[in-house]
Each structure stands twice: as C-alpha cells, then as structure tokens.
C-alpha cells in the first residue's frame, strides 16, 4: 500500500499506510500511559481534576505534582526514548546488524563514563552534558580505530564496541569508588538510568536535541536504506556511502549523548525500539519516525512499570528496560548463533 503525497511541484513523498498507523498507535500509547502515570499513586491527580490543575485551579500540592514532579519526568521519558530509538536505528543501519545499537557497542557506557568524569572525577571542569558527549565521542572513536576498518566492518564494530563498553563501565566503577558516599549514591542511581527528579532544563535539552537532529536523521533515511544494500549498490545509484555513514554516526552519537545526559544510559531502548518499529511497519529500511514513536512508548511504559509494578518499591527505569531488553538481546544472540554455521 504505497501512496504519494504531493505539495506543489517541489514536494512529493511516497508513504505507506502501515508506518503511519504504527506511529499513531504508538503515540496513543504514549498519551494514555502519561495520563495513567499522572493519576497513579498516592499523589496522583484524578483524571477528572486534571483539566482544572492544568488551568490553574487545582490545589498547590496538585500543581507541584503536575508541573514540578511528574510532567517533566514524563516528557523527558518520551523524548529520551525517542532519541535513544533514533540513535539505535542509525547505528543498526550503519552496522547492518540488529546487535549494533549504541548501548551494545559501548556508546551509552562511554557517555556514562564521560558524565561520571565530569560529575565526580573532575567536578566543575566541564558541564555534565559536555562530559557525556566527550565520553560518547571517545567511545565511538575507540570503536572506529579498534575495528581496523572504520565503520565498514559491522561485526568487528560490535565486538570492539562490547569491549569499549566494558572498559567504560570499569571507569564508571572507579569514579564511584573514589567519590564520597553522597555523591556516589546520586551518580549510581543516574548510571542505572533513572528518570527521577527531572527538571525542565532536562526537558529543554532533550527536546532541542530532537528538534535539531530528527530532521537530519530523516534526510539520511533514504541514503541509509541504500547503504544497507552494500557500498557498491549505494555508490552505483549515487549515494556517497562513506559520507552517509559518517553523518549517521555523528547524529547517533549526539542523540545518545543528549539522551544519556538527561536520563542516564538507560539500557536497551536503542536496541529494541527500532527493531519493534521495523517489524511492526514491515519496512525494508530504517524508519526514523516510527522508531522515535516506538522508543517514546517503550520508555514511558517502562517508567510506569518501574514505579508501580511492585507496590511500595520504585525501581530506576533502567532496571526495567535492562530486564526486558536482556531477554530480547538473548533472543538476538541465539538467532545470530543459529544463523552462522558452527
């Protein structure tokens, strides 16, 4: 089912119905889950009172819950989920491998190490987001050099990335061990991937990152589709494969760094969400918008589960995504194992 959407002579975009439906469903899930999260728990705002609180006629406690406590957190969850997912879609496309997502190839861990360095080891030297970006940049640089063939050797990128991720996490542990107990506790929670106590500054950071980078990701989608078919096919139809890969990696690194800055290296959203989107849309290439919608849905739902699944205990959201994503990762590894001749 393909149709062409035209806007005057300059714009003509082909689209299929299925991805559009998937996006609408995913966004509906995001919205419904947000409403449920807002109304859940002891401090929850009943849905009937929500319009009043938004209009400013609620109690002061309710206003605090909405504007300070829960809404920033929900918006960060949705936007960071989208950023992780788009970053994952780009890296999985570059590595031509569902395992090649930024959290598996050490990018999330690198960003976390950078954040830990900025927060604990050399506090005040650079802002934490800059530290996260530098960490992610260093990690991808190490993967680039370590694979021996840059970004052209997908499987080696994955293997080297796992090593880079392990080293980054070791650095994080070192930073935590050196820190005072109070500092360390805050950072440890953050490093699990946590959405607790998000502020509006976090919302602004991640939303700006998405607004700037998502269009670039969209512009890269079609060239990346062709690069997935091999460099020779891509070059034959006029796609500069190396340049497209470089751009995809830059956008992916920036998105991961932004998302890690506001939420910590939440595990496996980048791994799972793009694949969920790809399966649901039955598309034959990376679909950035669908991935973003699915990523937002995954993280918002995971956050709800983390807070209310076990009464009385609030888990960091990263624990939930790690548990779910771990199962999926195992499934991928087993499938890969079966596919390759023993």
């Amino acid at each position: 089912m393909t149709a062409v959407l035209t806007l005057g002579p300059a714009v003509a975009v082909r689209w299929r119905r299925r991805p559009v439906v998937v996006c609408i469903v995913a966004l509906t899930i995001v919205l419904v889950t947000m409403l449920v999260t807002l109304s859940a728990g002891r401090l929850g705002i009943p849905l009937s009172e929500l319009p009043g609180v938004i209009a400013g006629t609620g109690s002061r406690a309710q206003e605090w819950v909405l504007w300070t406590n829960r809404l920033p957190r929900l918006l960060v969850a949705a936007a960071a989920g989208a950023a992780f997912a788009v970053s994952g879609a780009m890296f999985q496309s570059v590595t031509r491998n569902p395992l090649g997502s930024p959290d598996v190839i050490g990018l999330g861990a690198g960003a976390a190490a950078g954040a830990a360095a900025a927060a604990l080891v050399w506090p005040g030297l650079v802002p934490v987001p800059v530290g996260a970006l530098a960490g992610a940049g260093l990690a991808i640089g190490a993967v680039y050099l370590g694979s021996g063939a840059g970004f052209r050797a997908p499987l080696r990128m994955v293997v080297v990335g796992i090593a880079v991720g392990a080293m980054s996490m070791a650095f994080v542990q070192l930073a935590l061990a050196r820190a005072t107990r109070e500092d360390a506790q805050v950072v440890a929670a953050y490093l699990n991937g946590s959405l607790a106590a998000r502020a509006w500054s976090d919302v602004v950071l991640i939303v700006v990152a998405l607004v700037v980078l998502l269009p670039v990701a969209l512009a890269l989608t079609r060239p990346m589709q062709l690069v997935e078919m091999g460099d020779e096919v891509a070059v034959a139809v006029g796609v500069p494969a190396d340049r497209v890969r470089t751009w995809a990696v830059v956008v992916g690194v920036l998105l991961t760094a932004a998302a890690v800055t506001v939420s910590g290296p939440i595990a496996f959203v980048a791994l799972t969400a793009p694949q969920i989107a790809r399966r649901l849309t039955r598309s034959t290439g990376p679909g950035m918008v669908a991935a973003a919608c699915c990523g937002a849905a995954v993280l918002v739902v995971a956050d709800l589960v983390a807070q209310y699944a076990v009464p009385g205990i609030v888990y960091p959201v990263g624990v939930v995504t790690a548990a779910l994503g771990g199962v999926y990762l195992a499934f991928l590894l087993v499938r890969e194992w079966r596919r390759s001749p023993a």
Binding site: V13, Q225, M229, V235, A236, V237, G238, P240, T284
Partner: protein, 268 residues
C-alpha cells in the same frame, strides 16, 4: 560527443597492500558492447569497479565523457552510468517493484522523492527485463535468473547510457545465462554502451562487439572478437591449448579446448 564515453588513464589499482594493476589504460568505444576477459585474479573485475567508481584508483583517473569521474557529483554520475555489482544483497522482505524503484534515487531530491517520470522509468525497466508480472513478489522468493533480471531492472531504472555489469551470469544455469546475455544484447541494440566482465570466452566472443583481454593487470589485446580470440592468444592469456573454430550458430570465434594429451604437449 565523439570521444570514448568512458576511459581509464594510467590507473594503479590496489586492495590494501596488494597491487592488482599499474599504469592501466583502456578506452570503452561509444555504443559498444565491451566485454573484459581474462583468467581469475587478472584484475578484470577490479578494473570494472574502478570504471564504475566503486573502487578509488591509487593513481591515474577515470574519465566519463572526458571529465574526471572523481570530480563529478555522485548523483550526476549515477544519472549517466549504472553499475550492477557481482553479488548484490537485497534487503529482507523487499518487493520487486520497491527494489527497482530504488534505482530512481539519482533522479530524486530530499523532498521531491517521486514523480510521474519515476513511475514511467520503473515500469519501462520492469517491461524491458520481463519481470513486470513479478512486481509485487518478494525478491527473496525469486529464482536466480529472475533475481538477476530484477537487479538489471534496478540499474535500467537509472536511465543511463552506460551500463557496467560485473559477471552478470555467474551462479546462473546455462539457460538463464543466455537469457541474461540476450537481454544485454537487446539493451545494447537499443543504443546503450555496455561494459561487462565475463568468465565464459565463448559467450564473450558471441555477444561482445569489443573485447578487452587482460592478464596480470595488463591489457594484452583488444578489438573485435574475431581479432582477439585466437589460438595463440588463448594460450598466452589463459595457458590453455585449444582450437578456435567458427561458432556454428553465429559464426563468431568459438574456443574448443584441446584433448588432454595434446593439452599436456602444448603447455610451455
């Protein structure tokens, strides 16, 4: 434009440390069906890759209509020159129509992603390769011969005058090989310039209008098949003792390897 549409000038071709050819020059005659032949490892596919700018030469340059191909914009080149690699990989669960439509990329923009001209070019390409009725089938479920025609259709959708084919008949059974070669001959008759790498000497001699024989990175002979495919040349280039007789179907030169005992005697 009267000069060669595609030309290599003093190419040095290498993979990492392995130098495949040095100071290699070759001209592709306009409107020819040029076939490059030679033994395994002689650099014929490497030369084709350099001509199709999927391999950067270490030295020398490739000229497209007299202009250095490396200086041209990638999309501009792709509107003038199409290339079918040796074993391209189709994405999972892509349909024939969608795959062929991807050949339209060089004619499209970021926002103008589809036009009536695109639809027409795809339909024409599907017709020319006789795969129009496979349009909604998945590429993965096609036979080898069908799949190769679909890839050819994708290259044709680029609507270029120049078409480069890297061993288009490899992995096909004999009937499908000739089906693909007949299709290439028709594309050539319609006015395109074709350059192909082929393994089978008799096929090369039958279909080519211009042959380039290579050995160890050097062009040993070039010209019409009747001049190039001779007993001494086949022995020199392939190390094969043989007789060359007229093909009973077409009259083009046909290589018949010598009997085993003769074979042993003739080898240097």
């Amino acid at each position: 434009m009267n000069g060669p549409p595609l030309e290599a000038e003093g190419l040095t071709l290498a993979y990492d440390q392995l130098v495949v050819a040095q100071d290699l020059s070759v001209q592709i005659p306009r409107a020819s069906f040029t076939v490059i032949i030679g033994p395994n490892g002689c650099g014929k596919s490497t030369l084709l890759r350099a001509l199709g700018r999927t391999l950067k030469p270490r030295a020398g340059r490739v000229l497209l209509d007299g202009e250095p191909i490396a200086a041209l914009r990638s999309k501009d080149v792709a509107r003038r020159l199409a290339l079918l690699p040796q074993s391209p990989v189709a994405p999972e669960s892509i349909t024939v129509g969608d795959l062929v439509a991807r050949g339209r990329y060089p004619h499209q923009g970021i926002l103008r992603q589809w036009s009536a001209a695109d639809a027409r070019a795809v339909a024409d390409a599907l017709d020319a390769t006789e795969v129009a009725d496979l349009r909604d089938r998945y590429v993965a479920e096609l036979s080898g011969g069908q799949r190769q025609r679909v890839w050819l259709a994708m290259a044709l959708a680029q609507q270029t005058d120049l078409l480069l084919l890297d061993e288009p008949t490899t992995f096909l059974d004999i009937a499908h090989q000739f089906e693909v070669m007949d299709l290439c001959a028709r594309l050539h008759e319609e006015g395109r310039t074709l350059v192909a790498v082929l393994h089978d000497l008799n096929q090369a001699a039958r279909y080519a209008t211009h042959l380039v024989a290579m050995k160890a990175g050097v062009v040993v002979a070039e010209g019409p098949p009747s001049d190039v495919v001779t007993e001494p040349l086949v022995r020199e280039v392939f190390g094969l003792a043989c007789r060359v007789v007229p093909d009973p179907e077409t009259g083009t030169p046909m290589v018949v390897p010598a009997r085993r005992d003769a074979h042993v005697r003739h080898l240097p």
